[in-house]
């Protein structure tokens, strides 16, 4: 093993200050329920987390980020820890148009063990947030949350592979705007006209 990136859950996790829903609560819940159906198909161990306060706050997606293809080989919590990480994704009211972000809730990724060039994260003092997308790229897809989760899963997958092989082969977008847009355009070209129309 080259380096141990994943560690035991810290036991402490940030309490998220979730926003109160200002718009139509029913419509928001409908959208959220619809989304979780798609999410569960790919990530069976993720589920919706609603607030129980009087004021209806936004929901979050919470649970083990493990794709269904891997999930079937997990028999207990020990396996979950080995194959995935525990995440939380707040679903702001405009999650359909703006997307969201993936929080490594129990800080299971030891970023010190990841070489700087492969550190795909945003970080502040409280949250450990995975870098899952570029805003330009996100504008091109319809189901943004699903896209973000898949991206997070691919990143975790690559870190797990890196632990064993020492090679990081994931073709990530550069963080700089100009370079990212250049790369996105290259990729769009590969998809041809159909994709341009789709956007």
């Amino acid at each position: 093993m080259h380096c141990k990136i994943f560690c035991e859950p810290s036991g402490k996790y940030p309490i998220l200050n979730l926003a109160v829903i200002e718009g139509d609560n029913k419509s928001y819940m409908r959208k959220v329920e619809n989304l979780i159906m798609h999410v569960k198909r790919e990530f069976p161990l993720l589920s919706l987390n609603h607030s129980i306060e009087k004021k209806q706050r936004i929901s979050t997606i919470r649970g083990w980020l493990i794709k269904k293809e891997l999930c079937k080989f997990c028999y207990d919590e020990k396996d979950y820890k080995k194959e995935g990480i525990y995440i939380e994704v707040p679903l702001i009211e405009s999650f359909r148009s703006e997307g969201s972000f993936v929080i490594d809730l129990y800080q299971m990724i030891n970023w010190n063990a990841v070489p700087d060039e492969f550190k795909h994260r945003y970080y502040d003092d409280i949250f450990s947030v995975l870098c899952t997308h570029h805003r330009v790229e996100l504008a091109l897809v319809r189901n943004k949350i699903m896209r973000i989760l898949l991206s997070a899963s691919a990143l975790i997958n690559e870190y797990k592979r890196y632990e064993v092989s020492g090679m990081f082969q994931l073709n990530c977008l550069p963080h700089s705007d100009d370079l990212a847009i250049e790369r996105i355009n290259e990729r769009l070209g590969e998809y041809g006209e159909k994709w341009y129309r789709g956007t």
């Binding site: 619809n34 798609h38 794709k67 269904k68 293809e69 891997l70 999930c71 079937k72 080989f73 028999y75 207990d76 194959e83 359909r96 997308h133 790229e137 091109l140 897809v141 319809r142 189901n143 699903m146 896209r147 898949l150 991206s151 899963s153 691919a154 997958n157 690559e158 797990k160 592979r161 064993v164 082969q169 994931l170 073709n171 977008l173 996105i184 990729r187 769009l188 590969e190 998809y191 994709w195 789709g198």
Partner: protein, 463 residues
């Protein structure tokens, strides 16, 4: 716990008839087989409904499992024997003589039955009883006895025959205990007799006008032209199948049998409460192992599950092969984990699974009367999978046919070895943890490659 007589009626030569019909170049499907089975089994159900003595628990291809339950007073031995004999006469006098089936070999049937205590499990799905299956020794023993009964023969417990009010004279022969031990390794005690139905045909001249009319209506209700076998584009839903609307698939029949489960039931019923919960958990584990791997549950047969993995556009052309092997290991792993967790409540018990699989063309249908329909797989390939599980699978092992072995990718072939008892089968006893590790590595590499190939775009455009 309930008490009663479990009986199996077996069409002994159905596999040969199917094989013949399967190879018949003028017909490309099993239309006639589905038609004749439907006519025969529905007529049996009709007789049972009419005399109110018992009910059909399961139809599974060549076998019908029916139960005569005891409600307070002892079973009426006379009526039960008459009913069992009527099923044989129905076959010889009516079914085999129907003009539409001329050219098909006559059905050769035998029956085996045993009496005792059993547990009835109702498999509930979405608040609805989806399937009934019973677990206990009588059904297991009856199945074994049926296998050993000759054509037109019924094997019954001596205890039941002694209660008959009439004499069966020369038609009855007691089975030697040593003979019982020879063909049934788990045999402990009890005496059984063979009854030769040929010698009783005159004594029990079964000619029920209602049943005869029913057979004729049932027979003429469906024309051969109405029976279709379609190739499915997506995963089959058995709810949509019927005698008329069948499917022909390229797929893998998956037979998995729990070993050591029946032993967990105490005969006095003292642990029934725990066992009700355990049964539900174990059968749920079996079903979820199949469904999680894009397979379809066909039916439970006691503590056995029959499932199907088939080729379809939804899941990639050859993916179903990997999925079926994965499902086998996932099931073995889950049962081993279950053993560990259940150890506190059910000490000294070790459950294991034996799994059989084969590959090729097979037929899916749904037969039975209203509100008692049964999902069925037919074809030579299904019989091979059953044989692999029943005769060659050891504890926590998967046995596959050489055809399926040939279709596996190299990394999966490596974990199988030729079966020592039959060169046409391959067996694996690989540890499920090792297998999982290997497959996780493969899945991760595949995902990474796919992600780089498709880029971050192109997926999940649906809302």
């Amino acid at each position: 716990m309930r008490k009663g007589l479990h009986a199996y009626l077996n069409v002994n030569n159905l596999n040969e008839i199917i094989n013949k019909e399967d190879k018949n170049t003028t017909r490309e499907d099993l239309t006639r087989i589905v038609h004749i089975l439907s006519t025969y089994y529905n007529s049996i159900a009709k007789i049972l409904n009419k005399n109110g003595l018992g009910y059909i628990e399961k139809i599974s291809g060549e076998r019908v499992h029916f139960v005569f339950e005891e409600h307070g007073e002892p079973l009426n031995a006379d009526k039960i024997l008459e009913t069992l004999i009527s099923f044989h006469i129905l076959n010889y006098n009516f079914i085999n003589k129907l003009r539409k089936y001329s050219g098909l070999d006559n059905f050769q049937v035998s029956t085996g039955a045993d009496y005792g205590v059993y547990y009835n499990y109702e498999h509930v799905k979405n608040g609805k009883v989806e399937e009934l299956t019973s677990i206990g020794y009588p059904a297991n023993r009856a199945a074994k006895l049926t296998e050993k009964a000759g054509n037109n023969e019924i094997i019954l417990p001596l205890e039941l025959v002694k209660r008959l009010s009439y004499d069966l004279k020369d038609a009855v022969r007691q089975i030697d205990r040593s003979e019982m031990k020879r063909f049934y390794s788990k045999y402990e005690n009890g005496d059984y007799v063979r009854i030769n139905v040929n010698q009783l045909v005159n004594q029990f001249a079964f000619d029920d006008i209602d049943v005869r009319t029913y057979v004729e209506t049932q027979y003429s209700k469906i024309n051969f032209e109405d029976v279709v076998f379609r190739h499915p584009k997506k995963l089959i839903s058995f709810d949509q199948l019927s005698e008329k609307n069948n499917r022909k698939v390229d797929g893998i029949p998956f037979h998995a049998d729990l070993r050591g489960f029946t032993k967990m039931f105490k005969e006095d019923g003292s642990n029934l409460k725990e066992m009700v919960r355990t049964t539900k958990e174990v059968l749920d584990i079996m079903e979820s192992s199949v469904v999680e791997n894009s397979g379809i549950k066909v039916q439970f047969q006691g503590d056995k599950i029959v499932a199907l993995f088939h080729k379809n556009a939804e899941h990639g052309s050859e993916e179903y092969i990997e999925n079926a092997i994965d499902a086998g290991f996932v099931l073995i792993g889950k049962i081993i984990q279950f053993n560990k967790l259940a150890l506190n409540n059910l000490p000294n018990i070790k459950m294991s699974v034996g799994i059989g699989q084969s590959i090729g063309e097979l037929y899916a249908t749904r037969i039975g009367l209203k509100r008692n329909k049964h999902n069925i797989l037919l074809g030579r390939i299904n019989n091979l999978a059953n044989k692999a599980e029943d005769e060659y699978a050891l504890e926590d092992s998967i046995v596959i046919t050489s055809d399926l072995y040939g279709r596996l990718k190299k990394s999966l072939q490596d974990i199988f070895r030729m079966h020592p008892d039959n060169r046409r089968f391959y067996i694996t006893e690989e540890d499920y943890r090792n297998y999982s590790r290997k497959r996780i590595k493969e899945v991760r590499t595949k995902e990474s490659k796919q992600y780089n190939k498709e880029g971050k775009l192109g997926q999940y455009n649906a809302l």
